[in-house]
Amino acid sequence: MSRRYDSRTTMFSPEGRLYQVEYAMEAIGNAGTCLGILASDGIVLACEKRITNKLLDEIFETEKLYRLSADMVCSVAGITSDANILVNELRHIAQRYQLQYQEPMPCEQLVSQLCDIKQTYTQFGGKRPFGVSLLYAGWDPHYGLQLYQSDPSGNFSGWKATCIGANNAQAMSTLESEFKEGITLEDAVPLAIKIMHKIMDQNKLTAEKLELATVTRSDDKTKMTIIPREKLEKLISEREKLAAAEKQK
């Protein structure tokens, strides 16, 4: 292939491709899955944890979910150390906006500004792109609850339901058939579990391997709730019962 065009991150190949960006997306395709569903009354983010060694000390609240500001959270898929840099930058961008305008930053602007930064790594400098895709879930007074996805190229778009990381194509096709307009959070959470259960078919889905958070609005405040392990175990076992029943039919 046109190998001589892929070591320089900022050069096009003759076919008009940016190989480094594509290789970055490859890296993400092997990382832990992140799934997001925008329901009418909340957003659910479900993530597969890859690092589950029992010797690990649990100092962090979450491995893949991060709060960005009072009204936005994100989940990451890809190289964790790259993700830390981007999350830190996102937090600073949001605070700078808040300081300047004394109001919370609109979701799309936050995503857009970070993506502009990501894009520079595909055009200038000779540094490799960030090997991270992110799902952003947040609220702003202009458009309400929103779900966005961005990738190493600096492209982003708003979604009603989406998936990044390993087996994301399988998840997306399931979402396309099962996602219904106007779905509520009460139905979206089991749907997320159902899809995670399906795509993690080889490795059994357990509560230790899953991180699930919901973003809702109540009392004029945005709440990010991380579902506790006991509740996850309950949801997973309910899913397994349903799956066994479906198999029998």
Binding site: R67, L68, S69, A70, R91, H92, Q98, Q102
Partner: protein, 205 residues
Amino acid sequence: MSIDEYNGSAIVAMTGKDCVAIATDTRFGVQRTTITTDFERVHKMGPTLYVAMSGLVTDAYTVAARLKYRLNLYELRENRPVNPKVFVSMVSNLLYERRFGPYFSTPVVAGLDPTSGKPFIAGFDCIGDPTIGTDFVTDGTSGEQLMGMCEAFWRPDLNKDELFEAISQSLLNAQDRDSYAGWGAQVYIIEKDKVTKKILKARKD
């Protein structure tokens, strides 16, 4: 006319038994002219952490906004509410960064430690020298008057109602002796599980 007297303010914080109170006047004026009488000087920085800014209002507002910026990032990174002692260092650092062109505003911090619930108050000068108070901290154009009033009314281990009385009387009587402060007063009583805000009727001059 000194820049510290351009707007005028009266700020006091007092410790009680398992509670703290912070109180300010509510006059916003430009030299002798009073512009509004419902000016909020107290800013909430956490569920049990409040800061009131004295001095030039534009600087007071800016310092409070910059402080909130740093505090938000701290709490996102550390995933816990800030400890008042650490907050004092944050304030001190922010003010000292402007050592040779300072903000003409001095904060007064009042809060409870998020884990132990111990009362905590602190005052600063405009370049960030922190004074962690044991009984009370006063600030503003009425600072000296407040010192005298607090010395008379404060006792150790006041319960929340006694504390409210002590801080209110100190504030009201001190600000009456200062033409740049007054026109109303607000008192925040901070306890471990709730914060009460009371608005006092004051002399409207």
